[in-house]
Point group: D2
Chain length 277, copies 4
């Protein structure tokens, strides 16, 4: 199982969420708390929206806990919207191109989970990717392929519907090959304006996903930090697992639902896979 | 342009050819002499036949000149048949899975050259790979794809014919997409029994390839080395460019031809691409 | 805490101990069982005695579980005497030169533990290293420095006494700087003829160390392996923690003692630090 | 020989100098033009002054031309003062801690050149480093050691004098050991306020160093770039070798001299090594 987090709100240094709490993302790279206590140390990534059209991307195959460049970067930059991922490989090699988040134009995408029997299904799934974006696939993971299927199915126009079509297509393809529970996923996607998160699995076991209750929740994580106390109510963090033990801060995002963080009121809606028509 | 070498003959340490001559393969990683004087430093590999069914494989993204593990390995092991490759990337990422040689069962494969307009052709070429070996493709290079096309077209049964079908298929696919000169290649392939090398290009520029004249040629490279003086006449090295300046040692393998090193007499035959029927 | 193992006996592939048991060394890289359940994933090494004067060395900063080169090498080579180490860094960077084992001529050395307040003591300890071997230190760990202190104090001539002098010198230096418990160590050292292991700590907490009871113990680990059943009685494995759960196989090496595996009868003696006279 | 550049002036993206000219620093990583045409591909670094007290640091052992993270970072950040270095190792390992620039507090330091017979002199030079900063040395290069000698000899208080004392001390130490020409160096140092560069060698061969003539020189490098046309006259780049072929842009900094870029008028002064009194 991988772990990821995504942040939307007043500009902060990513280090705030990657390093500065008891169970920060980097601490989770040593071992998670909700998925068996194993390391998530097969590569890492940080994607952030800054002053350029494209978001910035830092990816590395080193375990996050020992990556000095990640620490530097996470402390130097500030961003109002970023996502970070630590990988636990499920069959594809540990390589930079297999690290999340993946990027296409303004879009970033991160995933925790897997396509079951991926090597059986991979060829067929690859064929469904729009040929015009095929060469943007530089690695070999199921996750990057899911991203490009979502792009193929309209991520830029109808983000959640495209994610549902992707999930539906993966499930339909799997079922055709007698894979009983083809998909397990929590995903984050963003175009730099909104942050989309979804939690879904074909079977009864669903990877964990949480959202910070509101900005006051984030403030409570850092009682001594003057600056974070002035956070607007827009600020949200979505995480694979809570960054600390304070009660009341993290709300579970239920299986089969999606959460959209955006200017104005957030949305929480059902997530129902359906193959493209 | 990449550089490679392959050896067949009495068991030697790979270091003999990788390190111990003036223009050894590792020296060529700093800069070649026949392709513009640029570094070949986007990864390296050594594949060798030892005591196991499968050949051993060491691959690394480090420049060869600074890779301490390569030096260790090349000095510790001995092998009667090995190939080594240093990469100059032509568009695909510097990653371990993109390093040559590639392996499938008993087969090893290395390549210098490129498929022109690869990102245009890649999807279509991938589709032609036998689905049963599709998941053996772990990287994203044109080279690894060429290997799997050759495997698809019968490499195990008719090695040279399969390489010709692969080359013909790449050319036909390219021409269909208006790529004028789709293929540039010198390749090495082996099943552990024989060593196959071919030199071919769709256009007038053809990457260089040489074979050592005979075992006496190899002996002459190391006049002071007692042991190498006892080499049998079977010993051959095939190289992208000569490892030294001694005249008479290296014979050019002409464009459009293939060379087979094997027990008994070597063969030198024409290489004529032809798409599978 | 790091983990290591060392083997002496009939030639085997290192994979036998690194991969082929339930709690093999590579499995311990995900998490150990006797030191808190944390990963040992800050680099790895394999040193083996083969056909050359110097032992071979493979070292890498990748987590062992994902290192494809280690897997290849551990399956291809055979050796009657090797040691392998997986690192959990205690303050010095994750780099290849900081990976164990360390080598000097015929000697290999691996360590689990630490010098307390190392950065306070490092300069003074470095100064005690024989200037003639000073430049053989290429990394920055306490472990490599301990090895060079042992070499300085006569490792080649009186191995155990030199290790005791090293430990005594570290303790004396620490105490002079008010470090209460300066040393925590299990170490392996070999000259290719004998295998020396010692277990010691300045304080009450001592890292774990075990030796296989006898060759029948190793045979029992692999009941289905024809070949290992023919092992001679000389074969021994020394390990930071047991490779499996079978009772009766692993004997603890008590704190403050050393174990020597050698042709003929093994020795088990007291280990008593004493600074060089 | 390594290559480096340093920039002081209006904030720009480092990519402007690292990528966007014909003979940019990253192009020099494939091969330099003034030092034999060899690659400078044994690691790289970028240090930049941003919004934190400490400058940011990105270092990697990958050849610069293929390092995707460097490209991202160099395009995302903006800085009024940065330095970047590409390494050609001269005896010490290719490792992240051996990559320039080195940092201590607010200070950054980069070096092209070498201490001759470094392994002979290293121990003695190390001993001269102020024990209070000794543990800030995390690598093993002569360059990092030169930086810490300069810090020991007063870099923070009298930057140029401290660099002269460092150079003098290295020379005196070398001469004591019969090293004829102990030092070869171009160095860059900065505290975030000023940029110090010096060029010196003990013998007749001196590594190259250039400074952009004035801001109009930088503007001329990018005639089509609106934004750079508005550069203030403070802007300066100091480079190991010119980034392009335009005449009149680059002025050689003569051997045995130093150049200080600072608010107000720059200074060009003699550089005369003298061991600390």
């Amino acid at each position: 199982m991988c772990r990821w987090l995504a942040y939307y709100g007043d500009p902060i240094t990513p280090a705030t969420l990657l390093y500065d709490t008891k169970f920060s993302l980097v601490e989770q790279s040593r071992r998670d708390r909700l998925a068996g206590g194993y390391p998530n140390a097969d590569g890492l990534g940080l994607g952030w929206y800054g002053n350029r059209d494209e978001p910035g991307l830092y990816r590395s195959t080193a375990p996050a806990w020992g990556d000095r460049n990640l620490r530097e970067l996470a402390n130097q930059i500030e961003s109002p919207l970023f996502m970070s991922h630590i990988r636990a490989a499920t069959g594809t090699p540990v390589e930079q191109t297999n690290c999340h988040p993946f990027r296409h134009g303004r879009w970033l995408f991160a995933h925790n989970g897997f396509i079951d029997d991926y090597f059986l299904l991979r060829r067929e799934l690859l064929l469904a990717v729009d040929p015009s974006i095929f060469s943007n696939i530089t690695g070999t993971t199921d996750s990057e392929l899911m991203f490009h299927l979502a792009l193929t199915f309209g991520l830029a126009e109808e983000p959640l519907a495209a994610l549902e079509r992707m999930a539906g297509f993966v499930e339909a393809t799997g079922h055709r090959h007698d894979v009983a529970e083809p998909l397990q996923m929590t995903v984050a996607a963003s175009d730099g304006e909104r942050l989309y998160a979804a939690r879904y699995a074909s079977g009864p076991v669903v990877n964990s996903l949480f959202v910070s209750a509101d900005a006051s929740a984030i403030r409570a994580l850092y009682p001594g930090d003057e600056r974070l106390q002035r956070f607007s109510d827009e600020a949200r963090a979505i995480v694979s697992e809570p960054l600390g033990d304070l009660p009341g801060i993290w709300r579970e995002i239920p299986p089969g639902s999606a959460f959209i963080v955006q200017p104005g009121k957030d949305e929480h809606v059902a997530f129902t896979p359906a193959p493209p028509g």
